[in-house]
Amino acid sequence: MQRFAVTSLSRNAAALLAASCFVALATGCRPPSFHGTSYEPPEAAPSVVLQQANGARFSLADQHGSVVLLYFGYTHCPDVCPTTLSDWKRVKASLGRDASRVRFVFISVDPDRDDPATLQRYVSRFDPDFIGATSDSATLAGIERSFHVQSSREESESASGYSVTHPSQTFVVDKQGNLRLLYSFGMQTSDIVSDIRQLLRGA
């Protein structure tokens, strides 16, 4: 008798669970699952105000409605920075029309060598829609602090001059201006595309 009661209860619980799952799936209440590292909970992105080549101001706060990818690098970086921009180019191509709602922003943390014009020429090699933006050292340091990262100049015997140690991650800000995801260097572009599509859908 007791055994029957337990079985009955289990069946009812299973049915309830199945119904809950169905409702959750049907209403799209599943928590989003991303390939990148998620900010849990999402947090408001810090203020980012920078200069662009044409003298225009870039403000992250003005990008509401778009998903924004942010990377801190420099133009004398021959390896990981062009690799990241090259990956972004593939991401943009895969997004097709949706790319118009995505901003790709490369922030130079080497203001001594990267004036806004040099920077924009560099990022435009990869795609003319990519945004190159920078500022003075103090402003850049403040922005990096607000993202909990930092850059530092490293003297080198290289003929290319000093190198700059810089954050390796790409930061992703959603349409509402919240920091949502972090990508470590070398993330698969198909995974980035999948995540951006989710964010564009409002995940």
Partner: protein
């Protein structure tokens, strides 16, 4: 007891086989070879870009590779990028060691050749010849395909 020893032996062989799966692909070469070289395109002369090569050492000795050069860039240097706790560092090296019967694959985010001061635009599809010296006295070269 004998059964336990046999099981331990079987486990050891299995673990060794699994470990081998994570090593470089078996080296079929019996000499020192360069493969799959490529260089990232750059539309301007006088710019800096990176090249990547796979070094295969089929000899019985460690080979040190150094003194890189190219007619398509004023200077070629060996560098390595390293992601250390979210910070990307880059360091310059004089030479690269390739152990006997092993290969080393340069790739973005790791070892790379820095081409400084390109003598002309490097357009996708073009080839860039890179020359290097080996510790056994040989001078070898490879043609790196330019990719975007």
């Amino acid at each position: 007891m004998r059964g336990a020893i046999l099981r331990l032996l079987a486990l050891t062989i299995t673990l060794a086989a699994l470990a081998a799966c994570h090593r470089d692909a078996p080296i079929s070469a019996t000499t020192f070879e360069l493969h799959d070289a490529w260089v990232r395109a750059t539309p301007d002369s006088g710019s800096t870009t990176a090249a990547y090569v796979r070094f295969v050492n089929g000899t019985a000795d460690t080979i040190w590779v150094s003194r890189f050069s190219s007619d398509d860039a004023h200077i070629v240097e060996l560098h390595k990028s390293s992601d250390v706790a979210g910070e990307m560092h880059m360091a310059m090296f004089d030479s690269l060691a390739v152990a006997p019967n092993h290969s080393v694959t340069m790739r973005p985010g790791g070892y790379h050749l820095m081409l400084i001061g390109t003598t002309h635009a490097l357009i996708p599809g073009a080839m860039v010849r890179i020359v290097m010296h080996l510790s056994n006295g040989a001078v070898v070269s490879t043609s790196a395909r330019v990719k975007s």
